[in-house]
């Protein structure tokens, strides 16, 4: 049997209008527009077999979403080939659309102003799901995601996490054979993330569906995927088992400290200082995972520390570090 997803030399180049600021440039661009070619995806190859859960990783702008859009049929590639379940996705054949799902962002399948229950029933009609099948699927989704209390409220009144749960469920009512998930756990708290992960694993086990997902959270990927595909600057950088990958990327931890009077002190003797815009209060250093205990105890005895955190570095940084050389 041929693989569920085949991707061959797939490429996408966007033409992006380019213009300098200012009135003169605006007038000039009205008559003659300059375009810059942006190669979002460059000759990517991979195959995915039925039933696999594959994590699709890369820094922002690496071409993940572009690839997912091509595979779901929303984008025409500029070069190369792809098939999913034997269909060429961008022909947007109805039979193809009925057997896959793309979950992307928060406002895809649910109508903002009405309760999710109504959008679900609309989905049932659109995908022509027989009543008994719909009820069975809904029951399963409800067991895993606890949807019932959310169904009667207008979607605009749901929290981010609740909306994401409903969005994912709405995308799965027709029991797709292939799932493209773009950041399925974004904006969720830890327990929400765990629930979605458990759900996806369970869905994959029960239905044998093939899942390709992107995520910012390393935990998503390590929990779900045995196989990882990494792209960076539009190019395939890694395709293989997750265990090989962690061996290849030396595992690092981030230590963040809030210091008393000596804030801004040079910490480079303990580890490599790193910038973190999200938390300007703290100073961060990166150290090898095996050294964490040693370094923290040294820091605690040397420095007037008010607060200390130890976290995984963001997935982007890890990849940047491993593949940018």
């Amino acid at each position: 049997m041929s693989p569920t997803i085949t991707v061959e030399q797939l490429s996408k180049t966007y033409k992006v209008p380019e213009r300098e600021g200012g009135f003169g440039a605006a007038v000039k661009s009205f008559f003659k527009r300059k375009y810059k070619d942006v190669e979002a995806v460059k000759k990517v190859d991979f195959n995915i077999e039925q039933g696999e859960i594959v994590g699709f990783l890369g820094p922002n702008g690496a071409g993940k979403t572009t690839t997912l859009k091509m595979l779901s049929g929303l984008l025409h590639p500029t070069g190369g080939k792809a098939t999913v379940l034997g269909y060429t996705p961008w022909e947007l054949k109805q039979d193809y659309l009925r057997s896959m799902t793309l979950v992307m962002g928060q406002r895809n399948r649910l109508s903002w102003d009405i309760p999710a229950a109504d959008s679900f029933l609309l989905g049932q009609a659109i995908y022509r799901i027989p009543d008994n099948e719909y009820k069975a699927t809904y029951k399963e989704l409800n067991e895993l995601l606890e949807l019932e209390p959310l169904m009667k409220k207008p979607v605009r009144n749901l929290s981010l996490g609740e909306r994401m749960k409903c969005e994912i469920a709405a995308g799965l009512l027709h029991r797709p054979k292939v799932l493209f998930l773009d950041e399925p756990t974004i904006g969720l708290d830890i327990s929400g993330q765990v629930k979605i992960r458990e759900f996806l694993r369970e869905y994959n086990k029960r239905t044998g569906a093939t899942i390709l997902l992107t995520s910012h959270y390393m935990a998503d990927v390590t929990a779900l995927c045995e196989r990882i595909i990494i792209i960076h600057h539009g190019q395939l950088k890694y395709d293989g088992g997750i265990n090989n990958l962690s061996r290849r990327i030396a595992p690092f931890k981030l230590i963040g400290v809030t210091l008393g009077e000596v804030n801004g002190k040079d910490l480079s003797q303990y580890g490599e200082p790193v910038q973190n815009e999200e938390d300007a209060e703290k100073s961060f250093i990166q150290v090898k995972a095996e050294d964490v205990t040693k370094v923290t105890s040294r820091m605690l005895s040397d420095l007037p520390i008010h607060d200390i955190t130890i976290t995984d570095p963001p997935i982007e940084d890890v990849i940047e570090r491993a593949f940018n050389e």
């Binding site: 984008l75 947007l92 896959m100 895809n108 102003d113 029933l121 659109i126």
Partner: protein, 265 residues
Amino acid sequence: MLNIFKRLWLVNWAEQWQYRANLVMYILYWLVSPIIYLAVWTSIATANGDVKGLTANDFVTYYMILLICDQLTSNIIIHIFAYKVQDGSLSGELIKPIHPMLTNTLVNDIAFKTLNMIVLTPIWIVLALLFKPDFASVSIGGILLSIPALLLGYMINFLLSGAITSLAFWTTRVYSIHEFYYAMILLFAGQFVPLTLMPDVIQSIARILPFQLFMYTPIQIIQGNLAMNEILQAYLTGVIWLVVVFILFRFIWRNGVKQYSAVGA
């Protein structure tokens, strides 16, 4: 398929209710122009006795019927669709196995229209009390015969608007293009002035264009001004146009979707 339309209706109908305040403002805005024409032409006819044979009552009944016909055959596709192309929210609809324009947008428009008719009814009655039209020439037969013309008018207008709105796949200036289309309707559908008052050249052009079916032709049928063979001829013209605009719509739509997916949905 029927089930899809039923569900789409329930969703869109519920959504329209969320925006009923907007809707009342829209309908008041929309009413201004035909009421002005009604008032202007009626006073001219009253002052002169008649305008080229049309009496004040002819104008009053013409515009009172026009209010209904315009409401029935017009659409708001440009407002409910063009922005989806521009902000990318169309993507979610494109990967569903139904046609975004011919299902969701269509039902949305009909839901809007239905609610509009409910708002329009009391306004229409007040206007009728104010202007006291004499509907002596209107018959049940005329009203029944106008239905195919109104249906054709709605479908042609929908597909033409849909084709123009689909230009949003290429240009953000689609709103100006649609304004031009709207001006054509004002002129050739007989809203500015009943077409009989137009120069012969305009009248002959209007006769081969589809716009008459949006207002002028159904009004004439309701008022009992057309003979049976003229009515049948109007239907035939409508059917031919329907085929033409359907082909046009499909062509623009298909290429538009390709364009959309080429530049980045």
